[in-house]
Point group: C2
Chain length 385, copies 2
């Protein structure tokens, strides 16, 4: 397995090499202007120009190759033009590797009270100072270019859940018109790419229509959006089963905002290449740790004199250097180091999971890996002392 | 200069080697069971079993050799007996180097409402759960032994400021009786030591009496206490001038709870060997940075597009990898990484200052160093862009 493929000079867009397949699951390599990304990949979320509580050295040490930045937060503070004047997001936040940015649409549209959607785009008031902002497909492309994002996402309308088929169709069709405007406004550069987003709610026919419309426009990668909005794992997998067969084999596929470890494992089995989720960072701040034997809450009193590591099979420094008792103490005492150590562990856990999935696909033993993953997670935490 | 002196087997107490002198200032080496400490030394404060926001690797990378733990906080949570069952404070918090603990008295006595002082000791209610606790000289020794502290501090009464000479004498005399009880209750071990604390307010005669009383009892080191309580730098230096000549030359001297960079420099000139203070950590959490050109507030809007490092002469990663504009953004956005990066810088700043002082004493050019320090600090921050 050779991951050292250099960016191909003179090419526009992103390179994606498909290195191995195991059933629908794929092992690939995306090459960006800021370095390679082994897939399946988990993108650590760095909302406002920082992965909360982590230095970029710690993020790199976890095994992460690519992070996600939130356009909504960055456009409001410090502002896309300011980030550009400061040399772009990589330099600003000291992250030399690839960055994907979302379009800002999801956050704007979740602020139900403060926004108005028209064919032109969405207008909203900043939650910081009440100032009015417009986000159009063209402005979303401009902002992400100012941030110097390696993978730009189209602006789409996030269809609410539940939605009738008519609502989901109208929303999807608008997203497809916006996707065409994004493609037209996006400036191609070698090592940079634009991804389209499949919408259509839980309706298989709409998902297929959406995928075909995006392929007609042509993108560097295809995301599946509008999930993780309350539909549940089974419905989510059903949408993937209805969508992925209609996506091109030769380009990366990104499942947005997903998810729990078991969600990721199931989506990789179905042929997804990229993921992002706030779970490892957000959970880390509240005392929840992901382990090979499921998730555990460090605030629980059962850990208060437990000298064992969080996860004995985890090579991360939070597991090799600290006890559960110490982590429990930090969370009880509301010490910053608790969220720091637990976030670091969770990031390692997610990256180890992805590395395991990649290796299993290379070795053509993904089914065994998934069975072992499910068995171990079902065991539950080690017995209390 | 050879700092590699190994602990002397079979000896009890702490070894202190005086390696160089420049006027009253001293360059020394304390050898503890958990390693050496070059003096003059700044002890980073790790209140509740953690230097707030820092991994112990980051604390070590700053150049810190010894940290300070707060008995008051640790006795209440997680509790001294629990820390002992978990292998002692070094193991609990993953700090392999030397640890000094205070006696808990200062924090107990600052809780004016909740405590009662008698000849026996002090009783107080926990600020966490209202439970009643007793802290006597004997219990203070027991707790610090349970924590496995390398340098144990006697329990003393923190004399309020201002205090009349009579108040200061009575308080000091009680502290001296408690010091004798501490000495009697302390179990000697090689590489572990007990420090007495000189009290006496701002009254030179009382300070001398206190120093002589402690020397009569005999300690491994001598602290100057009861300062940094509002008396100001001039009065503090006056107390040092009245106290230090009465302390033994062959043992370390510790100025408790001090202080600003200029306080430390002046105290080193007067012959102090050890310091601790929350300033670098606490200031780091609120956006204040110490630099060679004085302290600056990163929240100030002048930094919002300033791509220059915090302190161009600082080798710490927060200065080499990040801009003022980015640090400003983190504090405006209330991101954890702001306190983390700034605390790390401030710890480096303090340790670099101590390293500079040590080198200057070795080179017999402390006066030049101090003049350069004062000149640079008086220049103030670099001009805004």
């Amino acid at each position: 397995m050779n991951d050292s493929a250099a960016p191909v000079a003179g090419k526009t867009g992103l390179e994606f090499a498909l290195l191995a397949e195991d059933g629908p699951a794929r092992r690939g390599l995306i090459t960006t202007a800021h370095g390679p990304v082994k897939t399946p990949a988990f993108m650590t979320v760095g909302t406002a120009g920082t992965v909360k509580g982590m230095t970029t050295e710690q993020v790199q040490a976890s095994g992460a190759e690519i992070i996600l930045g939130n356009t909504y937060h960055l456009m409001l503070r410090p502002g896309a033009e300011r980030v550009a004047r400061l040399g772009g997001l990589h330099r600003f936040m000291n992250w030399p590797g690839p960055i994907l940015t979302d379009s800002g649409g999801y956050q704007v549209m979740s602020l139900q009270e403060l926004r108005k959607i028209t064919e032109e785009g969405v207008t909203f008031r900043s939650h910081l100072d009440g100032e009015r902002h417009n986000l159009t497909p063209e402005r979303a492309m401009e902002i992400q270019a100012l941030l110097d994002s390696n993978i730009t996402m189209v602006l789409d309308e996030c269809t609410p859940f539940p939605a009738t088929e008519t609502e989901a169709r109208e929303s999807m069709e608008r997203s497809m018109r916006w996707a065409a405007r994004c493609r037209a406004a996006f400036t191609q550069r070698p090592g940079y790419g634009l991804f389209g987003i499949v919408q259509g709610g839980v309706y298989p026919a709409l998902r297929r229509t959406s995928a075909e419309a995006l392929i007609e426009i042509g993108f560097d990668g295809y995301a599946v959006g509008g999930l993780a909005v309350g539909e549940g794992q089974e419905a989510m997998f059903d949408v993937l089963d209805a969508t992925i067969p209609h996506l091109p084999r030769a380009q990366p596929r990104y499942l947005m905002g997903i998810g729990k470890p078991a969600d990721i494992v199931g989506a990789v089995q179905r042929g997804i290449d990229m993921f992002d989720c706030v779970l490892p960072t957000r959970s880390g701040r509240t005392g929840q740790a992901f382990t090979r034997r499921g998730s555990i809450n460090l605030r629980n009193a059962r850990h208060q004199e437990d000298q064992r590591p969080l996860d004995p099979d985890c090579p991360c420094p939070s597991c090799s250097d600290y006890s559960r008792a110490y982590l429990h103490h930090l969370f009880k005492a509301k010490e910053m180091l608790g969220p720091i150590l637990l976030t670091r562990h969770n990031l390692h856990y997610y990256q180890e999971l992805m590395a395991g999935l990649r290796q299993a696909i290379e070795d053509q033993r993904l089914d065994d890996f998934v069975a072992g993953f499910a068995r171990q997670e079902a065991e539950g935490d080690i017995a209390a002392l």
